[in-house]
């Protein structure tokens, strides 16, 4: 009769044959999970007890067994090989590896799903607030792929088209800015001064109680470009590169100004603009 809880739990081991007990030991050895140490201990006790009962004096000579092990098993060509012969060991090993791989994946899957759901919900919320996340992701044609910010804003797009149309009429070689501060509108019709040697385009915008201008001087001959002077205060001039163009940003008292010059074109962006807003406009000028 079992007299303690441990014996009661593992009492079934006595019912198993020695071969079955050895199989249990092999199975625990192959498993990647932590085995039941108590069960292993009980199995070994049962096997030892049976060996003692069978032939008390026939217990293996430990010294001889160690010598045999060193001679036949612990050799250089046995390195990395299993001590016990395995049936379908490759399959069992692969299965064990697969089980181990699936375990981290199973843990990561709910985490990934949670992160993805949070990201999408944040994007939807941002879109509702007014940030055009989805519109700013990507645009592509058959030949090019690019990211564009603010391109989908209808008001900015209308301004861009108006400015670009005038640029095209005068042969301006710089694209119109795509982005304009929220609430911007043309103060009046775009002013165009044309000459045989040059055209000057002036786009005046209002944005609330503030105003700013985009001026482009397009010269049609290389030798007819004048030396152009801009008024500025004592603040430092900042060089700002964007889309392959070098702008010089300066201030003229309360007004900020960014100027770019290349070949036969001079572009000046000026007005009641913060430095950040000025740079956003500059960044929206495509290549």
């Amino acid at each position: 009769m079992p007299t303690d809880g441990r014996t009661q739990t593992y009492g079934f081991l006595d019912q198993l044959s020695t071969e079955q007990l050895l199989n249990l030991l092999r199975a625990d050895f192959d498993s990647s999970e932590d085995g039941d140490d108590e069960q292993i201990f009980q199995i070994l006790e049962v096997i030892e007890k049976r060996e003692r009962e069978r032939a008390p004096d026939s217990l293996p000579d430990a010294a001889q067994a160690w010598e045999d092990f060193q001679t036949y098993f612990n050799t250089p060509d046995g390195t990395g090989r299993s001590l016990y012969p395995m049936r379908d060991s490759a399959g069992k090993s692969a299965a064990g590896t697969a089980r181990r791989r699936r375990r981290p994946l199973k843990r990561l899957l709910p985490l990934s799903a949670t992160v993805a759901a949070l990201t999408v919900s944040c994007m939807v919320t941002a879109q509702a607030i007014g940030f055009d996340i989805f519109g700013a992701l990507a645009q592509w044609t058959a030949e090019t792929f690019r990211f564009e910010m603010g391109a989908a804003d209808p008001a900015s797009e209308a301004l861009r088209q108006a400015v670009q149309g005038t640029f095209d009429e005068c042969g301006v070689m710089i694209p119109a800015p795509i982005w304009y501060p929220e609430g911007s509108m043309l103060a009046r019709d775009i002013s165009v001064s044309k000459d045989t040697e040059a055209s000057v385009i002036l786009c005046g915008f209002t944005c609330g109680d503030q105003s700013f201008f985009i001026e482009v001087q397009q010269y049609y001959q290389n030798d007819r470009i004048p030396s152009y002077t801009l008024e500025k205060d004592a603040a430092e001039v900042e060089e700002y590169s964007s889309n392959g163009r070098l702008f010089y940003i300066m201030s003229n008292l309360s007004s900020s100004c960014a100027v770019y010059s290349s070949d036969q074109t001079i572009m000046v962006i000026s007005g009641d603009l913060s430095l950040e807003t000025l740079k956003q406009i500059i960044d929206s000028i495509g290549e």
Binding site: P226, Y228, T229, L230
Partner: protein, 145 residues
């Protein structure tokens, strides 16, 4: 000794005073040249299409829409420095533009064939009763002969 001390003190004070005045003068010279009315301007002088003529092209940009923007005075000189023409800018002669923020214009002077000329322009912008101007000198150009 007392007198020597006094003289030394006076000398040091004088040096300090002169140094202060110089500093003030240099500070004035280094003060910013920003403008409430003018944003930018440029001009060039080029050979004209006919003998002896030179053409002066200019662009003047105001800081915002202004009552008048352009060139308020144009003076043409020979390369020797002799003044040969003075033109007052008006809307009628194309040197000034009304109710705008930028003016692109030109003026043609008919001088001597082969003559060398340069121009001094007074860039100008006026708005709400206030105005500002800057002088601009061009390079020298040879009229066609």
């Amino acid at each position: 000794m007392c007198r020597a001390k006094k003289l030394t003190l006076m000398f040091v004070t004088l040096v300090f005073l002169i140094a202060s005045l110089c500093q003030s003068a240099s500070a004035i010279e280094l003060s910013p040249r920003a403008s409430l009315y003018l944003n930018g301007y440029g001009a060039g002088i080029y050979p004209g299409t006919s003998k002896g003529s030179v053409r002066i092209d200019f662009t003047v940009t105001a800081t915002t829409y202004s009552d008048y923007v352009g060139v308020s005075e144009l003076i043409i000189y020979k390369s020797s420095g002799t003044r040969v023409a003075t033109i007052t800018g008006t809307v009628a002669n194309g040197l000034l533009r009304e109710d705008d923020a930028v003016h692109l214009g030109h003026y043609t002077y008919y001088g001597e064939p082969g003559g060398k000329y340069y121009a001094k322009l007074t860039m100008y912008a006026e708005r709400d009763g206030g105005s500002d101007s800057r002088e601009y000198l061009t390079t020298t150009c040879t009229a066609p002969s």
